[in-house]
């Protein structure tokens, strides 16, 4: 398994780790922009649908063409208001839950992945080779099929139907571990660590003082991925949670979507759509914020050397 790591650690390890800044002289290409634009449209089209349809009433949804606005009332703001107040404002409760799961789950996942990735990249220890083999091997077993065993175990631990049942499994991101591993191998020069050791700095002190800042761009990437994964986590809460008060947004939206499909159920597709839109927005904002940090992180890396 270590062969892969070697490959990923790539040829430039011996190079001076200077990074290329943006070259201002590069000519912009319209053709390339247009070609990439096709992928952009492909990515955006369904989201445009979401945006357009969030302006329609429940009835308007069924009587108008999906990719254009409805002749009827412009219901965008009333939809938002309804989404936030429906069922005594349960949506906000779900939003709060989701934030809780993301902050603790994704934050913790990133922290664990950074620690472990750094440990794997910069230390030689007993059982190291087995770690990656075990991680990738375990990831290969279909998670949905493990749901029942996991549920039964958590039930025995008394964790089901509590936030912990959602948070604890989110703490593991094998992919994040891998990213941090390769990133730490490249971004943290071994000499710095040796120098710190010579100065008598403890390993954890070195980690927090010197290594963490160097890892910043990688941390942001892992944080972003695990945030999205936790934010959109659906299957696990579905199995673990019974009390709608602990639902994350995805489960709540699905419950709204499903509630039409029963005797006497009220179809609220307009709220499902508006709710979906509202669900995406915080992620988008987080991404934009993190991206800025991410770029400056990269740039900082290049300045430093």
């Amino acid at each position: 398994m270590t062969t892969m790591v070697t490959a990923a650690q790539a040829p430039e390890t011996d190079e001076a780790p200077t990074r290329r800044g943006k070259n201002p002289r590069t000519k912009k290409s319209i053709v390339l922009t247009l070609l990439t634009g096709i992928v952009l449209i492909y990515s955006l089209l369904p989201l445009v649908w979401l945006l357009i349809n969030s302006t329609k009433t429940q009835d308007g949804l069924f009587t108008s063409f999906g990719l254009w606005f409805d002749d009827g009332p412009f219901a965008f703001f009333s939809n938002i208001a309804d989404t936030l107040t429906y069922n005594d404002g349960i949506f906000l409760r779900w939003l709060g839950n989701t934030l809780l799961y993301v902050v603790i789950g994704a934050g913790g996942a990133t922290f664990l992945a950074v620690l472990a990735g750094y440990g794997l990249a910069k230390f030689d220890f007993v059982g190291k080779k087995a770690v990656f083999a075990i991680v990738i091997g375990a990831v290969a077993v279909p998670g949905t099929a493990l749901a029942v065993p996991t549920f039964l175990m958590f039930a025995k631990l008394g964790l089901t139907n509590t936030p912990w049942a959602v948070i604890i499994p989110s703490l593991i991101t094998p992919f994040g571990l891998y990213l941090m591993w390769t990133f730490a191998a490249e971004a943290v020069p071994t000499e710095i660590l040796e120098a710190a050791r010579v100065d008598g700095s403890g390993e954890f002190r070195t980690f927090f003082r010197i290594v963490l800042p160097l890892l910043a761009p990688g941390i942001v990437t892992v944080l972003l991925f695990s945030m999205v994964a936790t934010w959109n986590n659906y299957f696990l809460p579905l199995i673990m949670l019974r009390d709608p008060d602990w639902y994350p947004l995805t489960l709540g939206l699905n419950a709204w979507n499903a509630q039409a499909a029963t005797a006497g159920g009220e179809a609220i597709f307009n709220l499902v759509i508006t709710g979906s839109l509202l669900t995406i927005i915080p992620l988008l904002a987080a991404f934009l914020l993190l991206q800025r940090y991410w770029q400056s992180g990269l740039a900082a890396g290049s300045v430093k050397e």
Binding site: Q9, A10, L120, A145, T150, N257, I273
Partner: protein, 293 residues
């Protein structure tokens, strides 16, 4: 094979960093897997209770046509969808990295965006797009007098799911490639330019070799993702119940075995067998991916 980590005296120091991860990992991955293996050796019936059956469940899985046809289906999916998705992701990453795009950060955000859409919502949106009666497909057919095939019919459904997956994960993979590209030292390009290398030459000689590790890993995780295909078919099933059978993918099959049929033991067996197959294939890909340098 050079070990790039510091050649310090082998010690347990590293475990202080890896330990916390592995503890939680053991709880949420290893323990359920061990429990599944245990479960797979038993059989519980509605009438008659639980009995030890040894490897009977494995024998059943190996001769189960439902299991093998579902495996065949995801394999087909794998060899078609994954290359297309990774190819597009790579092209976009290269385009953005080249610095020749107008508004490249806008591209980066927007193409990543679908990954942020919850599966429930994605199914709603694509369900509308695929709708042959009142959906976008119907509108296009009406508008242009075409008769595009019903994308939710049995013969098209795999392609339709492939499209959703491509839509969801192209941006994700693009970002991985892109961040790998960003770690290439500028000095390499400078020397290439001095040698008079063009953009294409720079891609084949510098960029692709440099991100080979990221490519291999993205491929491995895509293989695992394809073999574990579940969310998209399970949600589209509500719209196309006849096209997406309960044994459509191995994962869906294992899920339905345990949740609709309470065949927990057999379901665990299918999961274990599937895990072993996935591991073997991922291992082979990893070997091949790293050997040809």
């Amino acid at each position: 094979m050079a070990e790039l980590a510091v050649r310090r005296r082998r010690s347990w120091t590293g475990w202080r960093f890896v330990g916390p991860f592995m503890v939680v990992f053991a709880l949420v991955f290893l323990a359920p897997i061990a429990y599944s293996i245990y479960l797979s050796l038993f059989k519980t019936r509605l009438i008659g209770g639980t009995s030890f059956v040894g490897l009977d469940n494995y024998q059943q899985a190996l001769t189960d046509p439902s299991f093998w046809s579902s495996l065949g289906r995801v394999s087909l999916f794998l060899v078609v969808q994954v290359p297309i998705m990774l190819f597009i992701a790579l092209l976009v990453a290269l385009a953005i990295d080249s610095g020749r795009l107008h508004g490249s950060s806008f591209f980066r955000v927007t193409i990543f965006l679908p990954y942020a859409v919850p599966a429930v919502v994605a199914a709603l949106m694509w369900g509308f797009m695929y709708g042959s009666q009142f959906g976008l497909l119907a509108s296009i057919n009406d508008q242009f007098g075409w008769s595009l095939p019903d994308l939710l019919s049995p013969s098209w459904i795999l392609a339709s799911i492939g499209n959703i997956n491509t839509w969801e994960f192209t941006g994700y993979n693009m970002l991985i490639f892109y961040s790998a590209l960003r770690t290439i030292p500028g000095s390499l390009y400078e020397s290439a330019e001095i040698d008079g290398a063009g953009e294409f030459r720079k891609i084949t000689a510098i960029k692709l070799p440099a991100i080979r590790g990221a490519l291999v890993v993205a491929t491995i995780f895509s293989i695992i993702g394809s073999f574990q295909l579940f969310n998209e078919p399970s949600i589209l099933q509500q719209l196309a119940p006849n096209a997406i059978t309960t044994d459509f993918t191995p994962n869906l099959y294992a899920y339905n075995l345990s949740f609709s049929g309470q065949q927990y033991n057999y379901s665990a067996t299918v999961a274990i067998v599937m895990g072993i197959i996935t591991m073997v294939i991922a291992y082979v890909v990893q070997l091949r991916g790293t050997k040809e340098r």
